[in-house]
């Protein structure tokens, strides 16, 4: 518990800032793989091959979905660390 921040009046504000920053980063990745690679850049990417797929087509029908799953688990894990760091988590100290 050495990394826990001092709880003060602006703890909640800083926690929220950190949360928004994380969210912004993950949503940027979310947008890039789906709307970027899967749609906007699909045609240029289709010139490349990836395990027998045209790359743009693979991002659209396979790759983006895998990344979505990873993003949510990364968010859940990163938020649990933030919760603990700022002392606003929903778990007891033993969890």
């Amino acid at each position: 518990m050495t990394d826990r921040e001092q709880s003060g009046p602006d703890t909640q504000r800083r926690y929220w800032r950190a949360n928004l920053k994380l969210m912004g980063l993950l949503l940027a990745i979310w947008f890039t793989v789906s709307f970027g690679f899967g749609i906007l850049l699909a045609e240029p990417l289709n010139q490349f091959r990836f395990f027998g797929f045209k790359l743009g087509f693979w991002w659209a029908q396979q790759g983006s979905i895998y990344v979505f799953v990873i993003l949510i688990f990364v968010y859940a894990a990163a938020m649990r660390r933030l919760d603990r760091k700022f002392g606003v988590g929903d778990r007891g100290p033993d969890d």
Binding site: W30, I65, F68, F73
Partner: protein, 590 residues
């Protein structure tokens, strides 16, 4: 054993399992009825969410749509999965912290207004009934095709089973039944996909099989062969799109926002014990969903390849049995335009509309059609919905696989129907009756109302399933468009914008709803002949217009909030409190 007996056995056994679980997990309080007491493990909730979310449309229709649309089918794959990222990051944890029973509950409390609550209930009921009618129809189709039961009786049996576990068990019964239903449906989806992938490419993982070489010695990959065969027949290549870029972006985003705004999905995250569990549970839900959604494009491509191989230039007399069986129930039609006795498959509709049979048989033994043939060289009509159901037959898989697919299709349809019926009944008994019309009724009375509302909703859903409005397929655009344009912006602003007030939220929801509703009704029903890219606004089709509706909702809410009285201090501190996980409670009575 023949396929028929096996199907009865599989379907009967799965129904017995669902009913057994329902009896074991009966709900005793409103908390258990609405949100399973808030005590569901995140993995179990993830499975239940996946079954809840994956409807007859995902199980039966989606691979067929992809098979015939190729790259354009991407909008459904990304649209119906990407929404979970928004749900996990933007909505689920905060709504769980809020800790009540329904989506209108949140809107009503956050915007300190019963008018806002009632607007939310109306949005929710419209969205959910649209959806549920399609599920009951799916149940009817599976019963009539696999068990030779008329559609009417199929729907009645489906209603009886859902009635049993939704009315008795509430959310608790539904959750544990959905866990079982997820296992049945994913098994039923993956087994034939693995078999077919093995047959075509020799690789057992369909996600890899889709990119692999076809094992016919041609040296071409599945997608190359498909592109080549389709171009030879006069179609565009499978891996290229044909829709406008703006429209593809709009539809994908509308489906994502719509997914995140669908009440029966959101409410699933009210059932886990803690805020951190809500985040994690969304991850598990999408993982379980992705298992089917990354398999579907492979199933679609294999099905199209098999379809071309077995049908094109085949004499009707020699065509496989499944072709005739689906022709018998009217989902396939063949008109021998060049009178050569063989089936030619090409782009364009074979004839106008859906098949209408004269009752006569043609020279080759086919059912004669009353429809006027078109100029196109194409001679076959095939309903997209049959691709998944017919796939095991097309690939000549053993009988038990076909029986399994029937049980899986029913699991997908029933689990979604039950989830929808529950949110309808909860919003009626909790938000309309208890919080608006008859305040001060007891928990027991409310539970009774909830059960009556669930039973009534099942009867209405059953009626819609037996007498589907002619536009069932088209109203799907409604459900997503309306969810995107009405509920999602109100919830999101409620969490992220403290100054969003009651006037802004109500005005925003109404503007979003009315705009989206009018646009869809205009292009689908008033002027269907104008439903093309030339007339659409910004080139956005009715399927994607929810994005514009949502943007209008946001803009209206922000502007109105600025020029009307501010948000009460108590509500601001409510927003503060839902932003931190600490202090989460189980849902309780007020």
């Amino acid at each position: 054993m023949d396929v028929q007996t096996l199907t009865y056995l599989f379907v009967g056994a799965s129904f017995a399992l669902y009913i057994g679980i329902a009896i074991w997990s009966r709900a005793a309080s409103t908390g258990e009825f609405y949100v399973a007491g808030g005590g569901v493990h995140p993995v179990a909730n993830g499975m239940a969410t996946a079954a809840d979310w994956m409807s007859a449309a995902s199980f039966i229709s989606m691979a067929g749509i992809i098979a015939f649309m190729g790259y354009d089918g991407t909008v459904y794959l990304m649209g119906w999965t990407g929404g979970y990222v928004m749900l996990a990051l933007l909505l689920a944890p905060y709504l769980r912290k809020f800790g009540e029973f329904t989506v209108p509950d949140f809107i009503g409390a956050r915007y300190y207004s019963n008018a806002a609550r009632v607007v939310a209930v109306i949005c929710l009921v419209v969205i959910s009934f649209t959806y549920v009618a399609g599920q009951m129809r799916g149940v009817g189709i599976v019963f009539s095709q696999f068990l030779n039961v008329p559609i009417l009786w199929g729907v009645v049996i489906g209603m009886a089973v859902v009635f049993f576990y939704a009315v008795l068990g509430g959310m608790k019964g539904i959750t544990y039944t959905q866990v079982a239903q997820y296992c049945v449906l994913i098994f039923a989806y993956l087994v034939p996909a693995i078999f077919i992938s093995l047959l075509i490419t020799g690789i057992p993982v369909p996600q890899f099989g889709l990119g692999a070489e076809v094992s016919d010695g041609s040296g071409l990959t599945v997608l190359e062969k498909l592109d080549r065969s389709l171009v030879e027949l006069g179609f565009g290549p499978y891996t290229d799109g044909s829709k406008g870029m703006v429209d593809v972006l709009a539809i994908t985003l509308a489906l994502m926002i719509g997914t995140a705004g669908l009440p029966h999905v959101i409410v699933r995250f009210f059932t886990v014990p803690k805020v951190s569990d809500a985040r994690l549970s969304a991850g598990y839900a999408l993982l379980f969903i992705a298992l089917l959604y990354t398999t579907a494009p492979a199933v679609g491509a294999f099905a199209r390849l098999n379809f071309i191989d077995t049908v094109h230039e085949t004499a009707y007399e020699d065509v496989a049995g499944w072709f005739r069986r689906w022709e018998d129930i009217g989902l396939i039609g063949w008109v021998d335009k060049n009178a050569d006795g063989a089936i030619q498959y090409a782009p364009g509709a074979a004839f106008a509309g859906t098949p209408e049979f004269t009752g006569e048989r043609g020279p080759a033994g086919q059912r004669e059609l009353a429809n006027a043939p078109t100029q196109a060289a194409n001679e076959v009509y095939v309903d997209r919905d049959i691709m998944v159901l017919a796939n095991p037959e097309i690939a000549a898989l053993p009988g038990w696989v076909i029986a399994l697919v029937a049980a899986g299709g029913l699991a997908a349809a029933l689990s979604t129907a039950a989830g929808l019926l529950l949110v309808i009944s909860a919003s009626v008994s909790h938000d309309l009756i208890r919080k608006t019309l008859a305040r001060g009724i007891s928990d027991r009375q409310e539970l009774l109302y909830a059960r009556i509302a669930a039973a009534t909703a099942i009867l209405i859903a059953g009626y819609l399933g037996i007498n589907p409005p002619a536009f069932v397929a088209q109203v799907v655009a409604f459900a997503f468009g309306l969810a995107a344009a009405s509920l999602f912006p109100a919830i999101l602003l409620g969490i992220f914008h403290k100054n969003a007030n009651k006037e802004g939220a109500i005005a925003g929801m109404i503007v979003g709803l009315v705009f989206t509703f009018s646009y869809i009704v205009y292009f689908k029903f008033v002027a269907p002949e104008a439903n093309n890219a030339g007339h659409w606004w910004f080139g956005i089709s009715p399927e994607g217009i929810g994005v514009v509706g949502a943007a209008l909702n946001f803009a209206t809410a922000l502007i109105v909030s600025r020029y009307t009285p501010g948000v009460p201090v108590a509500v601001k501190s409510l927003v503060e409190s839902i932003r931190i996980p600490a202090g989460v409670e189980r849902p309780h009575m007020h």
